[in-house]
């Protein structure tokens, strides 16, 4: 098994309370299902959309958000999968796709010591 990070990008909550509740319930079902199949190493955390960026030799501090709303990373999950293909397949159940968001899938680098 290898480890992968899912980075959740963008996605609208939906303008109506009922729609928001349904999206949330789909997320919970999806994550629970992944967990039951043994693919979740760490469920992860939500991230605030604000923050600071410190950059350069001058250590200049600038305000977030860092990108357009559609690119803001809203959270992450640490996944265990056989290979990148499986990690991609598993991500396809994510409800974020229904609300114009995306999942970035990054293999965690393996250390061969």
């Amino acid at each position: 098994m290898s480890e992968f990070v899912y980075l959740y990008r963008g996605g609208e909550a939906g303008r109506s309370p009922e729609a928001a509740q349904q999206v949330m319930q789909k997320w919970m079902t999806w994550l629970k299902d992944l967990g039951e199949k043994g693919h979740i190493k760490d469920q992860g955390q939500p991230l605030e959309s604000t923050g600071k960026l410190v950059k350069g030799k001058q250590k200049t501090v600038t305000d977030g958000p860092f990108a357009e709303t559609k690119d803001v990373i809203g959270g992450y999950t640490l996944i265990e999968a056989r290979d990148l293909d499986q990690a991609v397949q598993l991500s396809k159940g994510c409800p974020i796709f229904e609300v114009d968001g995306g999942v970035e899938i990054r293999p965690v680098m393996k250390m061969n010591m």
Partner: protein, 422 residues
């Protein structure tokens, strides 16, 4: 969390009502933004960490903190609720005041305040109902359009106009008696009655949607019952009428999802708890001197639910109640129902005479049950060809698949008696 529990929708109504009280009615849109923010946060956090033990309290606390941020940031640029004025300006009083506003009792009153504000006399009845559904029940424009079988654009226009009227009303309706409470109460009762009716008799093809409208109407009527100034005989009668109708709803649709007429319903499936509650409320309504249409309609429903079999129905009593209803609030639909009761009491010939003498019956031209009633009475009179024509006319104006299936069956029954052409 149970998906059938519409937590977000219900909490949206509570939070908007309270936030509008704090921000002032002219800042309705700001209140809606804060609620939207609270839901976004809940969505982000709960999906990773699970639903908190008390989700309502979590949402309220989130909305409260967000409200404090907004008040601090914008108190120089905006004016908020004028009656809270200085209390919101000072850092000493700001947090305690907001805290108090989010207390359980205050929130309940806020919903009542909002309900009365939505029933503004400058708004037509259908706009009041849409506004109540949108603001207090958290229904989105498309959910309302779906429930009312109307276009998204039409409902959006209706709601945005209504919101403008509401926002221009300077402040929310004062339910403590400063404003004309008893003058506004009938409009509120009427809006809740229409909301319930839309659910009970409405055209939406999804019975789940219609059941939700009935539940919302009953929930909001509960607020009126809990508030001494609003718990008047007419409110008890309205609530009784809702219970007695809702009691019959489990039997209105049979196991295969088909509509069942009152005469053919399995009466053992009626909800005994709601029947008892309805009768209790009807007793409570029988005080004072005012006889409203809610009293009469609840009394009619009560006669139906106390008959264990269709044949035991006291049709004479029902006819006289419809006579009263025609005197208080005449309408072609009431006249039609009266004619059907007369047919039960005195035979189909009398029923047909009554239907044919309905004033303004052109207003029933798109009401499938007008033609269905004509068809039934012709059928009972042995005139199958005429019955068949009426059922076909009814089918042509059926509003949803359930009505369509019901009427197709009536068409088939009447056709089976029509002699075949050689």
């Amino acid at each position: 969390m149970d998906p059938s529990d519409h937590l977000f929708r219900r909490e949206a109504g509570r939070m908007v009502a309270t936030l509008t009280r704090i921000f002032g009615v002219h800042n309705l849109a700001l209140a809606e933004d804060v609620v939207q923010d609270a839901f976004c946060r809940a969505l982000e956090v709960w999906k990773f960490r699970g639903v908190p033990e008390n989700p309502s309290a979590w949402l309220l606390a989130t909305a409260k903190n967000r409200a404090l941020d907004v008040l601090r940031r914008e108190r120089t640029a905006r004016t908020f609720a004028p009656e809270l004025g200085r209390l919101l300006q000072s850092e000493w009083t700001l947090a305690p005041v907001v805290e108090e506003m989010f207390g359980a009792n205050a929130i309940k009153d806020d919903q009542l305040r909002m309900m009365f504000s939505c029933c503004h006399p400058r708004l037509p009845e259908e706009a009041q109902v849409a506004l109540v559904l949108h603001i207090l029940c958290g229904f989105s424009v498309s959910e309302i359009a779906n429930a009312f079988v109307s276009s998204h654009a039409a409902i959006e226009k209706r709601i945005s106009r209504a919101k403008k009227v509401l926002a221009a009303s300077k402040r929310l309706f004062d339910v403590t008696g400063v404003d004309d409470f008893s003058g506004r109460l009938p409009a509120v009762q009427r809006a809740l009655y229409l909301l319930f009716n839309e659910g009970y008799h409405g055209a939406s093809p999804e019975s789940a949607v219609r059941a939700e409208l009935c539940q919302e109407a009953m929930r909001l009527t509960g607020f009126l019952l809990d508030y001494p100034l609003a718990a008047m005989p007419a409110t008890f009668a309205l609530s009784a009428l809702m219970c007695l109708h809702a009691a019959r709803s489990p039997a209105r649709v049979d196991a295969s999802g088909n509509l069942t007429s009152l005469f053919d319903q399995d009466r053992t499936r009626w909800d005994a708890r709601l029947v008892a509650e309805g009768q209790r409320l009807l007793d409570l309504s029988a005080t004072g001197t005012e006889l409203t249409e809610y009293h009469v309609e609840a009394a009619i429903a009560s006669v139906h639910v106390t008959a264990h079999r269709t044949e035991e129905t006291d049709w004479g009593r029902i006819v006289s109640l419809y006579d009263t209803l025609m005197a208080i609030r005449p309408s072609p639909v009431v006249a039609l129902n009266r004619a059907i009761a007369i047919a039960q009491h005195e035979g189909p010939k009398r029923g047909l005479e009554e239907i044919h003498s309905i004033a303004r019956s052109d207003r029933l031209a798109t009401y499938p049950f007008y033609f269905a009633a004509l068809g039934d009475l012709e059928l009972r009179s042995g005139r199958h060809v005429a019955a068949n024509e009426h059922f076909r006319a009814a089918l042509a104006v059926a509003r949803n698949p359930m009505e369509r299936r019901f009427l197709e069956q009536r068409v088939a029954v009447s056709a089976s008696h029509v002699p075949q052409q050689p």
